[in-house]
Symmetry: C2
Subunit: 268 residues, 2 copies
């Protein structure tokens, strides 16, 4: 029994889809979210820069006395997870492994699609991890850079969203995939449009959901679940533009963002 909060960080707002899954699956846990909005997007940064930023985000959460850290950002998970595991003495989990494991287990024909930002796809992080779980899988990665701004416009059900999805996903459909990893934290918000384009036989894998499931398991194994069954506390921190975060955040979280603070990036 441990009522310390769980820390979650992302390069911006997208990680709120991960936080939302954690709220649903671990409804008694106190949560602290940090969005590094001053330095978003991580996707176009160099590896070294991403490692440094991720370490700073995790250090900030550690300073808030968290009992575990969730890297909700796909880019940071793919590049900085091992680095952070080595640096901190609490559990650190990313979104790649849970997503990859689920994709490998739900596919029947072994043809798996992965969509994400250019950086996530180019890193091959999902592709390689899936192959470790399923050696004979055929994994195809497609970067979909328009999906993030479409979600941030609130256009997830528009004809622009559908046409864009058709353009990006055509190659995956040609390859007869039967599982598709939503490898960017924004994409679960587009899942109905994506599902409409890929059809009913393709299983969508949401790494946010799988990560929350893994987190629950790990907290149980370490005996650090919060068994204080009261209303949990949710706190949010960003490194820039808190008003935009509050305004857009609702669509990701389906919940108001109450306790929100801005912290100076130089203090990280």
């Amino acid at each position: 029994m441990d009522n310390r909060p769980i820390g979650i960080f992302d390069s911006g707002i997208g990680g709120l889809t991960v936080m939302r899954e954690i709220m649903e699956q671990l409804p008694y846990e106190n949560l602290i979210y940090f969005g590094d909005t001053a330095r978003i997007p991580y996707g176009s940064r160099s590896e070294q820069t991403i490692k440094k930023y991720s370490y700073q985000c995790a250090s900030f959460l550690k300073s808030k006395n968290v009992k575990a850290i969730v890297i909700a950002c796909n880019t940071a998970s793919s590049i900085a997870l091992d680095h952070l595991k080595n640096q901190f003495d609490i559990p650190v989990i990313g979104v790649i492994e849970p997503g990859a494991r689920s994709a490998a287990s739900v596919t029947k024909n072994g043809h798996i699609g992965v969509i994400g930002t250019t950086a996530t796809i180019n890193s091959s992080a999902y592709q390689e991890r899936i192959m470790e779980f399923k050696h004979d899988a055929e994994v195809i990665g497609i970067p979909c850079p328009l999906f993030v701004p479409i979600v941030e416009e609130g256009w997830e059900y528009s004809n622009v969203a559908e046409l864009t999805a058709e353009k990006y996903l055509a190659e995956l459909i040609e390859h007869d995939i039967d599982a598709l990893v939503l490898g960017c934290t924004h994409y679960p918000i587009l899942r109905y449009t994506i599902k409409k384009v890929v059809g009913p036989y393709v299983k969508l894998v949401n790494p946010a959901f799988e990560t929350a499931k893994d987190l629950k398991k790990i907290l149980g194994e370490f005996s650090i679940l919060n068994e204080n069954f009261e209303l949990p506390k949710y706190e949010y921190f960003v490194s820039d533009a808190p008003e935009r975060f509050r305004r857009l955040g609702g669509n990701f979280l389906k919940k108001e963002i109450d306790i929100l603070s801005e912290i100076a990036i130089d203090n990280l």
Copy 2:
């Protein structure tokens, strides 16, 4: 006569459309471009942050002995121009004023549209400047956040681009505008698609073109044009991910990017 280079900076790659106009209108000038790719986009940052970043970009160019500085970024122009003018003893020009002056002069019915990033439109920089030039103008600003990633995907002639333009520009067409300011450096690349949507009677104003024209005039007034009629030298600096800059840059510049260096952001 002054053969020192002209410095141009932007938060990323978009300012290359401004550089291109300068190359065409001032073909003998040496140019140094700095793209702050490590900290793009400026649009979602706070005013204070944008001023600090802009000052650092301008200081870097000054350290390269430039004779004038062009702020090719709309966000930085709208927020940091006066600040930089006060800090440096060489001419500093932004893209807002030239674009606003041209819009005010080409409109016949006084209905002017401005499109740009969310930050540029919310700052009202173009809107206010246009009203100074033409008090009775009716100016309508519409943020178009999807246009940048559409251009960066090379989708400027696609049905996604056209549908997106229809969605964004419908309100401007309803307001019977006869002039439209392309208030983001990426947008000139979309001008054919935008023109198709708004129709032949709407004049498109390209601030990049107007800025180059103003720059030429100012250099003449200060007697610092380069009258050494040799092939000029073009140098490029970025703060992160030079390969992406080189790859995408061609579409903006219609020219190879040869001399490209990466500089550490901490050295700014």
